[in-house]
């Protein structure tokens, strides 16, 4: 039987009410039932029941799911779309060329080549990879202290470590300020999220198991929403997996952070689907940033930006459509005060960066923890400036 791995009870729990439709990015750009969660569930059920054959059309409908899971919180019957689509993607990937594509694009696109290509202007502007440093800075981690509140582990991951090392630095800085000893996970340790997203189930579970083995019982701080969501789903054995903003938010009440004065800058917060729909912790970012900046939400009910693992590469045309819609929604809250767009997921950051309109030159796309570090850091500079004054006098 095709799609035998899907639980028939999960399929039966959908009453086809259609409340998921507006929360699905592919439905939003096409208006086609075959590009909606309701439609995909029906297709899986129909193929599984032998009503319709598994043809290219069905394959395309199912593969075109971004897996943003925007439909999960929207569903009043709590249909487990995630449990339906995951085995389907796995099954389709094992019989398609997609696997090869993902390998080629993601794991052979070595960072060094990317960096070189960017310098030589060989990289297409729309390729969702941020400007990459040719030489990586080493992460500066303060020495552990006994007086501190405890130890946390910063999960470095692969993409974050290679392309967004400044975010790791900011994370370490803020966690240290909160009074934690920070330990780094092994460089190059991958959680397998991208593999799982692409339906390459076996290597994914091996990678995830490796993380579990190395860090069982620890508090794992993750600053990539995608990795966090994946690890959280397979968290058994791990002490705790927590998004960095959620962690900061939790410790604010008892924190030694001297907040100082607020900045006049305005931040538009992009909620990563992994935070909003899977971890359910996106509000932490708003809460924390609100201490330092004026925060604006994007008025589109947290619709996906189209990054979705390798989706932006795999389904470039759809991803472009989806992000254009996102950009329009962002545009509607922009004014001269807005300096930053914050995104807690490297995929989203890359996607937004690659498709940002030319008129957004004054805007920087940053990780929210960088903004926190910056707010605290400027405080430092402020103090040292004062000290300098004092020295001179």
């Amino acid at each position: 039987m095709i799609f035998a791995a899907v639980d028939p009870d999960d399929l039966a729990s959908c009453v086809s009410c259609g409340l998921c439709l507006p929360h699905c990015p592919t439905y939003r750009i096409t208006g086609n039932d075959s590009q909606s969660p309701r439609g995909r569930i029906e297709l899986v059920a129909a193929v599984r029941g032998g009503e319709i054959p598994l043809d290219d059309g069905v394959r395309h409908s199912l593969n075109s799911c971004v897996q943003c899971m925007g439909c999960l919180p929207a569903c009043p019957s709590s249909v487990r779309y995630d449990r339906i689509i995951a085995p389907v993607i796995d099954e389709l990937a094992s019989t398609s060329a997609r696997k090869v594509m993902v390998k080629r694009f993601l794991f052979r696109a070595l960072t060094a080549i990317a960096a070189l290509a960017q310098r030589l202007h060989l990289m297409p502007r729309r390729f969702p990879i941020p400007p990459v440093a040719v030489r990586m800075r080493r992460l500066r981690v303060p020495a552990a202290s006994k007086n501190n509140r405890g130890e946390v582990i910063l999960f470095r991951g692969c993409v974050m470590d290679m392309w967004y090392r400044q975010v790791h630095q900011a994370t370490v800085d803020v966690l240290s300020r909160l009074g934690y000893n920070v330990r780094l996970s092994d460089p190059g340790m991958c959680c397998g999220a991208l593999h799982a997203h692409a339906g390459i189930a076996e290597p994914a579970s091996k990678l995830t198991a490796n993380v579990r083995k190395c860090h069982s019982g620890s508090i794992l701080i993750v600053n990539s929403a995608g990795c966090g969501a994946h690890l959280l789903r397979h968290a058994e054995g791990l002490g705790e997996v927590v998004d960095v903003m959620e962690f900061v938010s939790r410790h604010l009440d008892e924190s030694p952070l001297d907040l100082g004065s607020r900045s006049d800058d305005v931040v538009v917060v992009h909620d990563a689907c992994h935070l909003r729909n899977i971890q359910g912790s996106h509000l932490a970012t708003h809460r924390v940033l609100d201490l330092f900046y004026e925060v604006r939400s994007i008025p589109d009910d947290g619709l996906c930006c189209g990054a979705g693992g390798a989706y932006a590469i795999d389904h470039a045309a759809s991803a472009k459509h989806i992000v254009d819609r996102k950009n329009e929604a962002i545009q509607s809250v922009l004014d001269a005060q807005v300096r930053y767009i914050s995104s807690g997921n490297p995929g989203c950051s890359g996607q937004l960066q690659a498709h940002r309109p030319q008129t957004w030159n004054a805007l920087t796309i940053v990780h929210p923890i960088e903004l926190v570090a910056r707010a605290l850091g400027s405080e430092d500079r402020h103090q040292s400036h004062h000290q300098g004054d004092a020295d001179r006098s």
Binding site: A12, V15, D33, E42
Partner: protein, 690 residues
């Protein structure tokens, strides 16, 4: 074959025949499955015209589809129809914030429209439970309501004009001005059988500055239902009055976590919105009544977020059903409010006897019940050869046995046309509505009410008198010959009224759509007319509409007759929706901006500039009046003074500029209702209809 020829004509939007797509467009949120033979997604009016012309020429049936969230199978294609998805036309064409209207395409989602105009402090009032997903086009096709239509009215009260493509491919604009008959009104709720709307001019409503949203728990459904009746009977019309029974509350609560109490028999959501003093006074009265009916739980939403989550709970109720059983059959019916408890009891009784699981979530304020019958289609024997369980018929019978007047059975109807051509479809209303032959008036040559000698006040020998006034239901049934003055005094005795001026007879007011200076909103003609008894040109008596407070199913013949100046039929009797007289009503005349006022009862040009009428709680009216600069208060004008003050024309339009397509429809309507031109013959001739 036909498909191939069709697709050739459509560059860029070829007919899709992929198996999986057809599988999906053959179903919607109902239990009904169809069989589409193709689907197409036009991007503009021209493409719709091309498609419909081809379908017409080749006699291919078609069905328009929006988001497919309908629960009555409205988007399900039968007879191998082609599905025309309107999701490719989803632009908001223009917004006029000052004029408070917008032109939108049919694929715009209901909630998206309100979101888009929120920065102007406006929204689109009809709010069906599926509002986040459903389209405006679908709302028009189904004349959708929603919790808040209790005070603001259903879709037809919020659609000003429709640009539609008829099945022969002709493009028409339907409104209340450009034709002698309200084709706009007849189109709304016709479930796509008259054509496809390609643009809709919607009325936008000002957002309320103040809300009170309260969740009230009752030990029994019966107590809740009686409280609802009592609230309306006390002359309070909240903006929403919704009820959920205990099982559905439990299902919803486990999804939204709105803090709904789980130990009550029924949950009532009461919302009052508007200006602060009126809102607080009304909600206090509501809660006093609830306490008198032994409410066991009362909680008022303290923040907007809390209010939002209460509504999220109510509006996701149908979807949350799958927590209990994977399928449900929805019955949608309106019963008199005072019989709510009785009908619910009966439904419960039948359900118990038949061993069925039934849940109730409904618009209590309208008496609009939604008994949901739960089942699992995988169970043996549950689907006896049909796409709905046989036992549902029992539930429907229980509902109809209570003399409900307006039921919307969710059974597949032939809604695709092409086979019987559009020419015939426009004739359906007259035929299918000739039911009540026992109405007292039968005359081979009845005289018209809206006659051409501009004397609207004579009653032409029709019998008069108020037949039935049900103040608790806000309904009055009256003979057409009754003077509006007499009606007003009967209603006034119970502190109720009709907003339209008390001039002439009821029949005359209806025939000429005499709203005076008032806009044709929810409290004016034709929207207050629920049911009509009439006699057509051949002397056949018929009944149109239904005598319950909300009434949206079937072809809206009432809209066609109201304002037709007696050229189609003679109205003999009408059931009208009344409203409580507000605490205070003040009139002002002057000049200057009135944009800051909140939903004034009237703003209209008059002899001496602009005239403003403010109504509501005295303190609110006083505050609003303070916003009026350069305005002087005047005594409330008597009905006849209004004619003078607003220079109301008392004669039918001399000429009507009709496009050929509209003219064609009107002429066919005339010849169907009155083939011998016995009704208002001169006027009909002047308009070229005879």
């Amino acid at each position: 074959m036909a498909r191939r020829r069709l697709s050739k004509k459509l560059e860029g939007s070829a007919i899709g025949i992929a198996r999986h797509e057809l599988h999906l467009v053959s179903r919607d949120a109902s239990n009904i499955e169809g069989n589409a033979s193709g689907w197409v997604k036009p991007a503009n009016v021209e493409e719709v015209v091309t498609i419909l012309r081809d379908c017409h020429a080749r006699r291919i049936p078609f069905v328009a589809r929006g988001a497919g969230t309908g629960l009555a199978g409205g988007a399900v294609p039968t007879m191998g129809s082609i599905v025309i998805s309107m999701m490719g036309m989803n632009r908001i064409r223009s917004v006029d914030a000052d004029g408070r209207f917008a032109w939108v395409e049919p694929g715009v989602l209901n909630a998206d429209l309100s979101r888009a105009v929120a920065r102007h402090g406006l929204h689109f009032a009809p709010d069906p439970s599926s509002q986040q997903s459903c389209t405006i086009g679908g709302n028009v096709a189904n004349n959708s309501g929603g919790p808040h239509c209790l005070s603001t009215g259903v879709t037809s009260a919020h659609v000003l004009a429709i640009e539609a493509v008829l099945s022969d491919g002709s493009v028409v604009t339907l409104d209340q001005e450009s034709s002698p008959f309200d084709l706009r009104g007849a189109f709304i709720g016709s479930e796509g059988m008259f054509g496809i709307a390609t643009a809709i001019k919607v009325r936008l409503t000002q957002n309320a500055p103040h809300h009170a949203t309260v969740v009230v728990g009752f030990p029994t459904i019966d107590g809740g239902a009686r409280a609802v009746s009592a609230i309306i009977a006390a002359g309070i019309v909240p903006s929403a009055l919704e009820m959920m029974d205990a099982p559905i509350t439990r299902a919803v609560e486990s999804y939204v976590h709105a803090g709904f109490p789980l130990d009550v028999g029924a949950l009532l959501i009461i919302e009052v919105d508007g200006l602060p003093h009126g809102v607080e006074a009304d909600i206090d009265s509501c809660l006093t009544i609830c306490r008198q009916h032994e409410a066991s739980y009362i909680r008022r939403a303290q923040t907007d977020a809390e209010r939002a989550i209460i509504w999220k709970g109510r509006k996701t109720a149908f979807g949350a059903i799958a927590r209990i059983k994977p399928n449900y059959y929805l019955h949608d019916t309106v019963v008199p409010r005072r019989r709510l408890a009785e009908v619910l009891g009966k439904i419960g009784h039948i359900a118990a006897a038949e061993n069925l699981q039934v849940m109730n979530v409904f618009h209590a304020g309208d008496g609009n019940l939604h008994p949901l019958l739960l089942f699992d289609r995988r169970e043996e024997g549950i689907m006896p050869g049909e796409c709905y369980p046989e036992s549902t018929v029992l539930v429907s019978r229980s509902v109809t046995s209570c003399r409900s007047c307006s039921t919307k059975p969710a059974l597949p109807r032939s809604r695709s046309f092409g086979e019987p051509s559009i020419l015939r479809v426009w004739r359906i209303p007259a035929r299918c509505c000739r039911l009540g032959r026992d109405v007292e008036i039968r005359s081979p040559r009845p005289r018209a009410l809206g006659c051409e000698d501009s004397d609207m006040t004579r009653s032409k020998g029709l019998s008069s008198g108020v037949l039935r006034f049900e103040p608790d239901e806000l309904i009055v049934t009256v003979r057409a010959g009754t003077t509006m003055e007499e009606l007003a005094s009967v209603l006034g005795s119970k502190r109720q009224r009709l907003r339209i001026p008390a001039i002439g007879t009821v029949g005359g007011a209806l025939a000429t759509r005499r709203n005076g200076p008032f806009p044709s909103d929810n409290f004016a003609l034709p929207n207050i007319v629920l049911k009509i008894h009439a006699v057509d040109g051949s002397g056949n008596a018929f009944v149109a509409g239904g005598g319950t407070v909300k009434n949206v199913s079937g072809f809206d013949l009432v809209k066609l007759l109201v304002g037709s100046w007696g050229t189609l039929a003679t109205i003999t009797e009408a059931t009208l929706r009344t409203e409580p007289i507000p605490g205070c009503s003040r009139w002002f005349v002057g000049a200057g901006d009135v944009g800051a006022l909140y939903r004034p009862a009237l703003v209209a040009p008059c002899r001496n500039g602009w005239c403003v009428n403010l109504e509501g709680h005295p303190d609110d009216v006083a505050q609003q009046a303070a916003l009026l600069e350069n305005y002087d208060e005047i005594a409330p004008p008597a009905a006849l003074e209004m004619i003078e003050l607003f220079s109301i024309a008392e004669s039918p339009p001399e000429r009507l500029e009709m496009t050929p397509a509209i003219f064609d429809i009107c002429r066919r309507l005339k010849s169907e209702f009155d083939p011998d031109n016995t009704l208002s013959p001169l006027l009909s001739a002047r308009w070229g209809l005879a």
